[in-house]
Symmetry: C2
Subunit: 117 residues, 2 copies
């Protein structure tokens, strides 16, 4: 079983699933509505929705016959938090990343990486 962040990354590793998430930013939608822009069968779309739901990236609610899916932000927030750590390396051009707190896992014998833009 994958850890939550791995599950999220795995779910995001597909352009159709990412397009579904983008579509859901404009509002919740039924499976039929979600399938419409794609040249794909309903079962195929449902398979993608299952992956997204298992990753907690979408949720569904019941509204009579309508079971709209909506976007869930929490896993995307975690992705943003994860990548945020790396942002500093391209934004600040650190010459001495080994001086970052809690990063030195060895005995200081690793050479520095010089990060240049």
């Amino acid at each position: 079983m994958l850890d939550p962040l791995s599950t999220t990354f795995s779910a995001l590793a597909d352009p159709t699933r990412r397009a579904i998430l983008a579509r859901l930013t404009v509002g919740e939608a039924s499976v039929t509505e979600l399938a419409r822009p794609f040249d794909m069968s309903l079962p195929s779309i449902c398979k993608h929705l299952k992956v997204l739901e298992a990753a907690g990236l979408i949720a569904r609610r019941r509204d009579g016959q309508w079971r709209p899916r909506r976007l869930e932000m929490a896993p995307l927030h975690q992705v943003a938090d994860w990548v945020q750590y790396y942002r500093q390396f391209w934004e600040h051009d650190f010459d001495r990343p080994h001086e970052l707190p809690a990063l030195n896992q060895g005995q200081g014998k690793y050479r520095h990486k010089q990060v240049h833009k």
Copy 2:
């Protein structure tokens, strides 16, 4: 064949591979050095390194007998750019994205979302 962003997400969907990337922020390292913190055989580590290399997340250079791996930022930059779009939704505390202005869930065409910062 996966698109570049899918390849990146797929490569990131593993805690060992993410730990290797974190390790490489403190400087380039040999396979042996990269394997050290993990209870894992060298061939297993090499498999992970291959996935990271195929995704462009690491690169290697030749330095005599030493072939250190270093972190490559470009794919992580793309991940940050991708997730940046979603950031606005949790930063503005949109609980109900379907209530965003100018949203239409109905008639087959999806209107553009109005994004306000």
